[in-house]
C-alpha cells in the first residue's frame, strides 16, 4: 500500500514537471530541473518561477481539495454520485461569495478574505440543506441529483439576481464564477494553500469515522461514533477545501466525482487510504485537464471547466447508470 502511494506521488511529480514544460515556450527537462534547483537562465527562471509554477501548484492544490472532498461527500451521502458540484458546495460557495461582494464587505481585490469566508459559509449551508433533504430520508441515490440540481439552480439564479441588482460589482462576481487558472500568480497560491490543505488533512484524519458514516447514521452511532460532531467536522473540512478551491479556480465539475472512483480499485474503500489517494488522483486529473485546456486550441486557452466537463460528463453517466442498476437490483 505504501508502494501504491509512493507510485501515485511519483506520477504526480512527473506530471507536474511535464506541465512546467508545456506552454508557448517549450522548455527542456534539464532547464526546468536547473531552475527548480536554483540556477538556470534569468529568462527561463521568470517563465517557470513566476508564471508556470504557481499555476501548476494551484492546479494540484485545487485537484487535491476537490478529489479528497469528493471522497468524503460520497461517504457522507452514501452515494457514488456525490461530488462537490452535485451536493451544492460549489454553487453555495459562489452564492456566498456573491452576497459578500454585493453587500460591500469584501475589501480585498484578489477574491480572498471576506469573500472566501462568504464562500465557506455558503458552501456549508448549501450542503447542509441538500443533506437534510436528500440523505436523511429514505430516498433512492438518484434523487440526490434532483435535490442538488434544484439547489444549485436556485443558487445560480440568486447570483444572477444579485448581479442584476448590483451591477457595479458585476465584473468581480463574474470573475468568481468563471474562475479558471489563467492569470493567477503566487498571491493566489499563498492565500489558498493553507485552507485547502487544512481541509484535506482533516478529512484524511477522519478516515475511520468516514468508514462508519458511509454505512448511515444509525450504524455509525451503534459503533459509538458521535455522529453530529463527526458530520460537522467532515462538512466543515470539505466545505473549507471546496470553497477555497472555488475561490481560486472557479466552479470546476467532475474532478471530485471521478477521483474517488479511480482511487477505489487502487487502494480499496477504507477512507483512511481512499481520501488521500483521491486527493492525489484529483491533483493529477486537474493537472492533466489544465495541460489540455492550454494546449488543445493553443494559443487560445479553453476554460478548464470545459475540459473537465467534456471528459467527466461521460464518466458521470457511466457511474449514474451503474448505480441505478445496483439500486434496482438491491
Amino acid at each position: 500500500m505504501a508502494a501504491m502511494f509512493g507510485g501515485l506521488a511519483i506520477v504526480l511529480a512527473g506530471a507536474a514537471l511535464t506541465a512546467l514544460a508545456i506552454g508557448s515556450v517549450r522548455l527542456a527537462a534539464a532547464d526546468i530541473i536547473a531552475v527548480l534547483l536554483g540556477s538556470g537562465e534569468p529568462f527561463t527562471r521568470t517563465i517557470i518561477i513566476d508564471v508556470r509554477l504557481p499555476r501548476v501548484l494551484l492546479a494540484v492544490l485545487i485537484g487535491v481539495a476537490l478529489g479528497s472532498s469528493g471522497a468524503a461527500y460520497q461517504a457522507l451521502f452514501r452515494n457514488p454520485l456525490a461530488d462537490p458540484f452535485v451536493v451544492g458546495a460549489s454553487s453555495g460557495a459562489a452564492a456566498g461569495a456573491a452576497v459578500v461582494i454585493v453587500t460591500g464587505w469584501a475589501v480585498s481585490a484578489s477574491g480572498f478574505g471576506p469573500a472566501s469566508l462568504g464562500a465557506f459559509i455558503g458552501a456549508l449551508l448549501a450542503v447542509g440543506l441538500v443533506y437534510a433533504i436528500a440523505a436523511a430520508g429514505q430516498m433512492p441515490p438518484v434523487s440526490l441529483l434532483l435535490v442538488g440540481t434544484v439547489v444549485s439552480t436556485v443558487l445560480g439564479a440568486a447570483v444572477w439576481l444579485l448581479m442584476a441588482l448590483a451591477d457595479q460589482h458585476l465584473h468581480r462576481i463574474v470573475g468568481w464564477l468563471l474562475g479558471g487558472l489563467a492569470g493567477h500568480g503566487w498571491d493566489t497560491v499563498d492565500a489558498a494553500w493553507l485552507p485547502m490543505l487544512t481541509g484535506t488533512a482533516v478529512l484524511c484524519l477522519l478516515g475511520r469515522p468516514l468508514d462508519a458514516l458511509s454505512e448511515g447514521e444509525d450504524a455509525a452511532r451503534a459503533l459509538g461514533l458521535w455522529v453530529g460532531g463527526a458530520m460537522a467536522f467532515v462538512l466543515a473540512a470539505a466545505s473549507l477545501a471546496v470553497a477555497t478551491a472555488v475561490a481560486a479556480g472557479g466552479v470546476i465539475g467532475f474532478v471530485g466525482l471521478a477521483a474517488p472512483h479511480l482511487a477505489r480499485p487502487l487502494v480499496g474503500v477504507a477512507h483512511a487510504r481512499l481520501v488521500p489517494a483521491s486527493g492525489l488522483i484529483g491533483g493529477l486529473l486537474l493537472l492533466g485537464a489544465d495541460a489540455l485546456a492550454r494546449s488543445i486550441a493553443a494559443p487560445l486557452e479553453l476554460p478548464i471547466g470545459v475540459v473537465t466537463a467534456l471528459l467527466g460528463g461521460p464518466f458521470f453517466l457511466i457511474v449514474l447508470r451503474r448505480s441505478w442498476a445496483t439500486w434496482r437490483a438491491g
Binding site: P209, A222, L223, L225
Partner: protein, 266 residues
C-alpha cells in the same frame, strides 16, 4: 439484570409504544414479536440508544444509557439493523474490524488484542476463508454472518438484532438462529431480537414480548405468550395455535376461512 426499560414511551414525534417495562438478563434470548407497524424496530432502536425515549428510561446494568457516552454504550451493546444491501465494497475483514471502534477509539491503529478479537469472531462464524472478499459480493446468508461477526468483535454483552432472519431461506434461518442461541449460552450474552415470523419464536426464544395496539400486550415464556386468544388480539385476525409435531413448540396458523365457515354453520 443487564438491559432494562422502565415505563418507556418510545416513538418519533408521536408515541408508538407506551409503558414498556422489560428486563433482559444475561444468557437469555428475548424476542420482540408483533404485527407490522406495532413498534418493534422503534423499541429496539430506543433500547440501542439510537432513539431518545419520549418518556421513561433505558438502563444498562442499572445506569441510564443517556447518561453514558455513545462509545460507552457501544462497548457493551451491539445493534444490527434490518438487512440492507451493503453500500460500499469494504472487504469482510475491514467491515468486521470496525466493530473494534468503541474500544479502540477512532484514531489509534488496531493492536494485538484487537486483531485477536477480530480473528476469533471471524473464526467462530466461519468467515476466515472469505475475509478478503468485498461485502457487496456475498450471499444473503454470508452477509448476515458478517454483520453478526462485527457485533461479536464489538465484544458487547448485549446484542440487539432487528429481523436477523428476514430474506433468509429456512436453512440459513436455522443456521443463524442456532448460532445466536449458541452464543447466548456460551458467551452468556443478553440477546434481544425482533422477528415477524411467529413460528420461529416457539422453538428458539427464552422469553417473548408480544406488542400490539400501542403497548406490550403480554410478556413471558413462549408457551405462556403464544396462545390463540393473545395472538388473535394482538394481530386482529383469528389465529390458532397447535403443538409442533416434532418439537412440541407452538405453531401458529391463520384460520380466517375456517373460522368463518364454522360460524356460518352455527
Amino acid at each position: 439484570m443487564v438491559l432494562a426499560s422502565n415505563n418507556l414511551t418510545c416513538g418519533y414525534r408521536q408515541p408508538v409504544l407506551t409503558d414498556v417495562s422489560l428486563t433482559v438478563r444475561s444468557g437469555e434470548l428475548f424476542v420482540i414479536l408483533g404485527p407490522n407497524g406495532s413498534g418493534k424496530t422503534t423499541l429496539l432502536r430506543t433500547l440501542a440508544r439510537l432513539l431518545r425515549p419520549l418518556g421513561g428510561t433505558v438502563a444498562l446494568d442499572g445506569k441510564d444509557v443517556w447518561s453514558c457516552s455513545p462509545s460507552q454504550v457501544a462497548a457493551a451493546v451491539a445493534f444490527t439493523s434490518q438487512v440492507l444491501a451493503p453500500g460500499w465494497p469494504f472487504t469482510v475483514r475491514e467491515f468486521v474490524a470496525l466493530g473494534r471502534a468503541p474500544h479502540r477509539g477512532w484514531w489509534r491503529p488496531l493492536g494485538a488484542y484487537d486483531r485477536r478479537a477480530i480473528a476469533a469472531a471471524m473464526d467462530q462464524l466461519g468467515l476466515c476463508g472469505i475475509q478478503d472478499r468485498p461485502v457487496t459480493e456475498l450471499s444473503g446468508g454470508e452477509w448476515q454472518r458478517v454483520r453478526l461477526a462485527r457485533a461479536l468483535t464489538q465484544e458487547a454483552r448485549v446484542l440487539l438484532l432487528d429481523e436477523p432472519t428476514s430474506h433468509l431461506d429456512p436453512r440459513y434461518q436455522f443456521e443463524l438462529l442456532s448460532l445466536v442461541r449458541g452464543l447466548t449460552r456460551v458467551r452468556h450474552l443478553a440477546v434481544v431480537m425482533t422477528l415477524h415470523d411467529v413460528n420461529l419464536v416457539g422453538a428458539w426464544a427464552d422469553r417473548v414480548a408480544l406488542l400490539g395496539q400501542g403497548d406490550v400486550h403480554c410478556e413471558g415464556t413462549p408457551d405462556a405468550v403464544l396462545t390463540g386468544p393473545a395472538l388473535t388480539a394482538a394481530y386482529s385476525v383469528p389465529l390458532a395455535v397447535a403443538p409442533h409435531p416434532v418439537t412440541g413448540a407452538a405453531v401458529v396458523s391463520l384460520v380466517p376461512a375456517v373460522v368463518d365457515r364454522v360460524e356460518e354453520r352455527r
